[in-house]
Subunit: 295 residues, 2 copies
């Protein structure tokens, strides 16, 4: 069994980005600049945005955080989005979700200029991805693809089972792995709560992506000997064995599945650390005009 070390890969990619930013600075080019909008004072959102800011600093990006109180009007927020759309200094930006109930998340997402949509949540980026055009891919599926690439995991012609059909993980990763591409060409089955024979289906897969958000759902009897198992789940459960009183569990019953798997991602330290790196990669692409020509 080989552990897929997301933390290590994420650090490696950060170093690569750092080197590229230094080179850009040396040549007097535009320093990539990520902005984040945060509304209200949700603890988790503050933490995420803090991590993103820190990651920007680590690799030499400029970063800006725009904070608004949770009584901001939808119109005002839309105006702020539009200002960022037009600000030529900002290469890409995100609006940290969730937003307060009186604001339509979808309306805000669709107001973001797709060229700056480094979260890849705008339907135009999703649609372009589906038809194989250059597009920003959202953080988790992009991170999974990067891990597959860096560990040279063969996907072509192999049977992939994706468990969970969420809009931000299950659906996009099932599309990406089936695409005509070096990290695609797999035969992908997308399973979900209505799938009747999941154990039978999963136990034939060469690669399993577990992304249903149910702690330790995937057990050894659902996994073929020698399969690759990617665990996207993160559930916080009480524990009397940790100092904090909490521990994080993935969607995979790690100890028993690890005995059968050829490759497996741990939780934490697998897919998780890759997500912020994906955001940095998208921001770098934005600043270089790799997906869309620069405005």
């Amino acid at each position: 069994m080989e552990l897929i070390d997301g933390k290590k890969v994420a650090n490696q990619i950060k170093q690569e980005i750092t080197a590229e930013v230094e080179q850009i600075k040396k040549e007097g080019g535009k320093i990539p600049h990520l902005a984040a909008i945060i509304v209200g004072h949700d603890g988790a959102s503050e933490t995420y945005v803090g991590h993103k800011e820190k990651a920007c600093n680590q690799v030499g990006f400029n970063s800006t955080v725009l904070r608004f109180e949770d009584d901001i009007a939808e119109d005002t927020l839309l105006r702020k989005v539009d200002e960022l759309n037009k600000d030529t200094e900002i290469d890409g930006f995100i609006v940290q979700l969730p937003l307060p109930d009186h604001i339509s998340e979808q309306k805000i997402i669709e107001a973001i200029d797709p060229k700056k949509d480094v979260d890849g949540f705008h339907p135009i980026n999703l649609g372009r991805m589906v038809i194989g055009l250059p597009a920003y891919i959202s953080a988790t599926p992009a991170g999974i693809i990067e891990l597959i690439k860096r560990y040279n995991i063969e996907t072509s012609g192999r049977d992939v089972v994706v468990i969970g059909r969420s809009n931000i993980v299950g659906k996009p990763i099932s599309i990406l792995l089936g695409q005509k591409s070096d990290t695609g060409n797999a035969t992908v089955t997308l399973t979900h709560s209505r799938t009747k024979n999941l154990k039978e289906v999963a136990s034939k897969a060469d690669i399993i992506i577990a992304a249903l958000g149910q702690a330790e759902f995937l057990t050894a009897d659902m996994v073929k000997e020698g399969a690759t198992v990617i665990d996207v789940g993160i559930t916080r459960v009480k524990s009397d064995k940790t100092k904090s009183g909490w521990k994080l569990l993935g969607d995979v019953k790690f100890d028993e599945v690890a005995e059968k798997a050829a490759y497996i991602t741990p939780v934490p330290g697998g897919v998780g650390p890759m997500t912020i790196v994906s955001l940095l990669q998208n921001t770098l692409k934005a600043s270089k005009g790799e997906i869309y020509p620069r405005l």
Copy 2:
């Protein structure tokens, strides 16, 4: 075996649309108006646009065809698209493909206002469909879903195998059948040229969508007893048994597969007749502002 009679269903839907348009007229409402842009004199394109015009007349829609020579500049065509975007009389329009080589089809498609994109080719409509938002669905997948609905074919929890990953059929139908919806909730496997064990995979499916464009590819040994088989293929082959010297073949070896299938679509007369009806349905939705609010 029950034949899925696409021609009959298509006629039935046309009658339903006709009745609705008459009601709209009676109430003094806006008559749905479809426009089509055709560039050059490609025979097949002329035929398709002719069929679409005729179908509009049949159901009482207004229709407009804009014809341009094949030396039209891309800029000029973009301007024409923009004129249709702004024309409040036109509810929806299509640009008949293919376009001459000097014009970027993708650029033209992305210039169409998504609210009038009744072909459902704009990435924003594809992306919205993926995340389950109201969107124009392109003609063939929409036609397949309509047949499934009208024949009460159960999809929830059933195993579907889609053969062929084209942008206009295989990918969207695989997404739709896996969605949380009355005609979805299936466990969908998307197969293609790189799939290694297609016969094994297909022969377990409750529903097979054959959309690879290879005449009589799907043979009886690839189909489970009692399966539903939807044939999207249309290949014209020479024949000494028809007056014209040609006949149309689907992707399914009909005679032998029909003996095992519970439901099967013929070619011609299966999915084919549904595609124009899907376009009419999308145009009606556009005129009623069902997908997007009216401009």
